[in-house]
Amino acid sequence: MNKPIRTIAVFCLLLFLALLGNATYLMYVDAGDLNADAKNRRVITAAFSRERGAILVGKEPVARSVPSDDEYDFQRRYPKPFMYAPITGFFSYYSQSGIERSQNDVLSGDDSRLFVTRLVDMLSNAEPKGGNVELTLDPEAQQAAWDGLQALPGDARGAVVALEPTTGRVLAMVSNPTYDPNVLASHDFSAVTKAYEQLEADLADPLINRGIGTTLPPGSTFKLVTAAAAIESGNYDASSMVPGGSSFQLPQSTSRIGNHDGGNCGGNRITLTQAMQVSCNVTFLTLANELGIEKMTAQAEAFGFNSTALEDLGGQARSLYPPTMDPPQTAMSGIGQASVTATPLQMAMVAAGIANGGTVMRPYLVDEVRAPNLDVLDQSQPEELSQAVSRATADELTDMLVATVESGTATPAQIPGYQVAGKTGTAQSTPDRPPYAWFVSFAPADDPRVAVAVMVEASETARDEIAGGTLGGPIAKAVMEAVITP
């Protein structure tokens, strides 16, 4: 009977080898994935008991862990919760968002770059700590943007994004309505669940960062892209005579589109600068129609449409310029209508690209990552995203936008002593909803240090007042002032 016994022995050996192999796979090879699983409460419970790193804005923490005397050792606190919530996100027992999520490895101390720190902590029996994350935000610009949105009448929904044109640093990012991440970071988990469900159910979507998460028709601010494509085509410059007039006959259609004020833009032939100054629909419908879908798509994509550029935050919506639009839609796209949609971040990138001599920089939020002992682990470097237009084109566009602020529709953004470039926008969605007000600008025009996009989504302000810079202009101005004035 010994032969079958030996066979069985070999079979048992295989069984045990399978167990050993599977245990190795589960506990070593696959462990990283399992630890990263959102359902895994162990990791988060451990994170609650560990001093998580701070998120800093200009050396001041906007999120930090303070000792707590309940069953977890630390409590996450957000000193300026509403203003920074869209960026910091929240750190709750059940999930995380924003920087809390995207920089979780560093903040929790699990990042491989913190390996040495961890080893030292382990050997010295010290409690492991997380690293700190410094953001690019300018606290004054952020405050100005926040105050501006708060000052709007009614329950205004809106967002402000400010970029540093030469680097792509995000200087301000505000979204309204917003929420208090302190509530979600509470250790009273049933209250957290309840609060989260309420926020989720809220029709005003307070959990969405409108700066990057909401796309809306950019309206007249998209005329920057149309003008850029026109100048880049070589057939136009700022002083070229372009068609004005009171209406435009859509191709393949019986519809005629007029200007927002019902006027004729100052004549049947006007300069491109004048068309920009008065935000002449007819001109830009004509230009987009003439340039065609391919050139328009190429220009929009060069500014960042149809992709996402910011890598530091989740929950980004893609700004769209559909390359399959038919000719009437293409014409409509020239004034930021039809299927064109953009996030405030995207429109800020358009402004920043023009301000930076045509070079669009990749926007970023995380400036530095530091170990708990303040050693710099990583310093973000500016990165070119694309050359959207030539420097000459950028200069021409800048001149046109300066003229628009000086004596056009964008006068509310004027800052005494500085040259400001800017453009208003109003976009229709459905007739029963109020239009969206947009404002993009940058300053100083000769040496741009800040580019801003303001979007106000809904407001109780009367329809006819929205057009122009009355809503967005003052906010953009305040943000620019916060950055450029000493």
């Binding site: 079958p4 048992c12 045990f16 399978a18 167990l19 506990m27 399992l34 162990r42």
Partner: protein, 465 residues
Amino acid sequence: MTQTGSLMDFVHRRRRGAELFLLLLALVVGIGAYAAVGLGVEGTIPADIAAYGGWLTALVVAAHIAVRLTAPYADPVLLPLVAALNGLGLAVIHRLDLAYEAKGRDNHDFAQQQLIWMTLGVVLFIGTLFFLRDHRTLQRFTYTSGLAAVVLLLLPFLPFLGREINGANIWISFAGFSFQPGEVAKVLLVIAFAGYLVLHRDALALAGTRVLFVDLPRGRDLGPILAMFAIAMMVLVFQNDLGSSLLFFCLFLAMLYVATERPGWLVVGGLLFAGGATAAYFAVGNVRNRFNFWLDPMAYYDQSPGSGQLVESMFGMAWGGLIGRGFGNGMPDRVPYAESDFILSAIGEELGLTAVMAVIVCYGLIVERALRIALISRDGFGKLLAVGLGSIFALQVFVVIGGVTGLIPLTGLTTPFLSYGGSSLVANWVVVALLLRISEQARRPVPRLEEPEPDSETTQVVRVL
């Protein structure tokens, strides 16, 4: 007999000193783990470490002395392996008790109960060694064992005894104690199978008709054992005890294969298993669930019935990583029933892959020793008994550890010697006593027959005066 070194002439040494040394190492594991639990969870070495360590040492030494007295040639590695696993299990259960206590759960004296069961197990171990001087005695009880096994399996169906716990009707409750008769029945069934097969192996192997590739034995040879097997299987299926039915099926197959030396049985068995498993998948909701949970555990995490337990176990083991979180730094109590079926996930979480591998290797060594005993055993009954007991170990360990780590679908079984569970622990101590008894018989030198003087039988010429 010649002295030219045939296997039969190899004289095994007693090796009791080696056993004692290994037992000391096992005690270091058990008592050390207990101290580590205290240090890790409460920050100090437990106050009762001396009493606990003394008790554990007393049990182990008693077992060792019993082996010295009654089975001096027995295998020296089995007892230390078992002692180490039992000691580690006690410490981990104690660790879980502390976690349950901190959580405010009512039941947090599992370790204490387990120690009582271990004591009973060791007593039965010693008793078995003392009263069963030759394992071949058991061969007389072939049919009695079979009948007793079936009766034990049927006990949970009695209305005044049976208790249903977690959907399985495998418990009886008597005078405040709950007991799983199936754990004892499995030992009795091995005895019954071995006794029957050793008598009928030739008939099973040789007489019969050939169908396709397999020589089917005659009905009268296969009948009784098939009936016994079928009853056991049906009972288990009705009790909703998937793990045990799988265990018995494979055990039966392995023993039949060893007895008849016909690999065809493995083919037949494999086909039957595939067929049965497929049928069960479509007919039994529970089986289908288990299979689906295994395929994609994450998808059923939040459901009920769902894979929450399995996923928590996998999370825990992954969280433990290579060297574990250390006692007191993990959350093994997140896994329901961590003290019984899922004890390996508690070990994995707090002691890491290192300890999990050590445990698996310990089990592997136990199986290896059992099969080695089967190889060197001099009688067919002993061989079959040892193979059967070894296979039970191998299968049970594979089914439960494979289930807990997601290698195979989960079926409830205890981890021998580690898991909390009195019936299993006691039965397994008896199994080890039986293995030691068979090994003693196998390793003891063959009684040297009085060799006659070379001339003793030759005709002697006697001078007659």
